[in-house]
Amino acid sequence: MQKVLPGLFRLPFLVLLALTVAFGGGIWSTLVALDATTGFGAIRLGAWEAFPQAQTADADPYAKAHRANGGRLLYGSAEGLSFTATVDQKGERLSGRCTYLISGQTPVARLWTLFASRANGEAPATGQDLPVALNSRTVLRDGNGAFVITIAPQAAPGNWLAVPPDEPFRLTLTLLDTPTAGSSGLIDLAMPRIDRIGCGHA
């Protein structure tokens, strides 16, 4: 380095290098952190993830920065708790190329709603004729109160949740009026399973 740079430019070069790394790295790492996480304090149940503390004053700095940047209207603790899933039970990304089965029961809640959205969080197109959202009142159940929902771009018998074909998607399951919202995540909660049963047009 000494041979390439004359002595006069060595110090300004080192200062510039340090500043570039500081600003570039600082801004880049912040953007990545805000994009990647909603903060700590998540509860993970299978493929599902929720942040019961995200709207409170006790939320960690990352959660507060994320919520200030996202500007979304969060659920209060008496309202409900929103779980999202971007992967299936085995950890593979949810995709509109495949067919999935959601089965089981939700944690205790008065009502729940389930809808699929684009991977960037864009809401599903409502007012279409396709069932893009289901709730606890419209879902068909078996004798034990359990339900099975088929998620696929093509129509399926029983409970069918339509998703756009050939696109990754995200599922949001919101439990309304649930004791889960006040829970520390230590009690045993059972969320429905998301199992992939097939892919492609075969």
Partner: protein, 182 residues
């Protein structure tokens, strides 16, 4: 070469500091936060019903079954009374301060009767209210808060399309106006 490595290390430390500064100060500088967006919806002390698509202020109703209305409030002069009336399968209200920290939330089962009647007041206003005990407010839930500015989010559930007129009426009749104290 050693100096270059030192400069890089300096840069990394600076990057770490900058990262922390941005993360910690973002909530106070952000203009994309929920409170700014609620203010962008229109005049305060009035519930604004959100559309299914993102509007100019950047808000939308996220859940297709939950019709949502927002209202920005300011307690610096007078307390604010939040009311709504109607029988629905589910409704809920959450109030937040200007930093989007939850102040208070309630749903139809935890409320009195089948309507919403919540009075937001600063500690001084709440003391004055308890002393005066105005009879029309005897059923109101008085919520004391130190947050002077904030917003309320009212959600009404329409599990099927036939409930839509009821939720629309519920949200249209919701009130978020200030209460004159004498």
């Amino acid at each position: 070469m050693l100096k270059v490595i030192l400069a890089l290390l300096n840069g990394l430390v600076g990057a770490g500091l900058l990262h922390l500064v941005i993360i910690l100060s973002l909530p106070s500088f952000s203009e994309r936060d929920a409170y700014s967006r609620v203010l962008g919806e229109g005049p305060p002390h009035r519930f604004h019903v959100l559309a299914a698509r993102v509007d100019a202020a950047g808000l939308q109703k996220t859940d297709p079954f939950l019709d949502t209305a927002v209202c920005a409030f300011d307690l610096s002069e007078n307390p604010v009374r939040l009311t709504a009336r109607g029988t629905l399968p589910f409704w809920s209200l959450a109030t937040f301060d200007s930093a989007s920290n939850e102040i208070f939330s309630i749903n139809d089962r935890t409320s009195v009767g089948n309507g919403l009647d919540v009075l937001l007041a600063t500690p001084v206003q709440a003391t004055a209210l308890r002393k005066a005990q105005p009879s029309p407010l005897s059923q109101s839930i008085i919520v004391e808060t130190r947050a002077v500015q904030g917003y309320a989010v009212l959600r009404a559930m329409a599990p099927q399309a036939s409930y839509k007129p009821m939720t629309t009426k519920f949200l249209a009749g919701a009130d978020c106006s200030t209460l004159e104290l004498r």
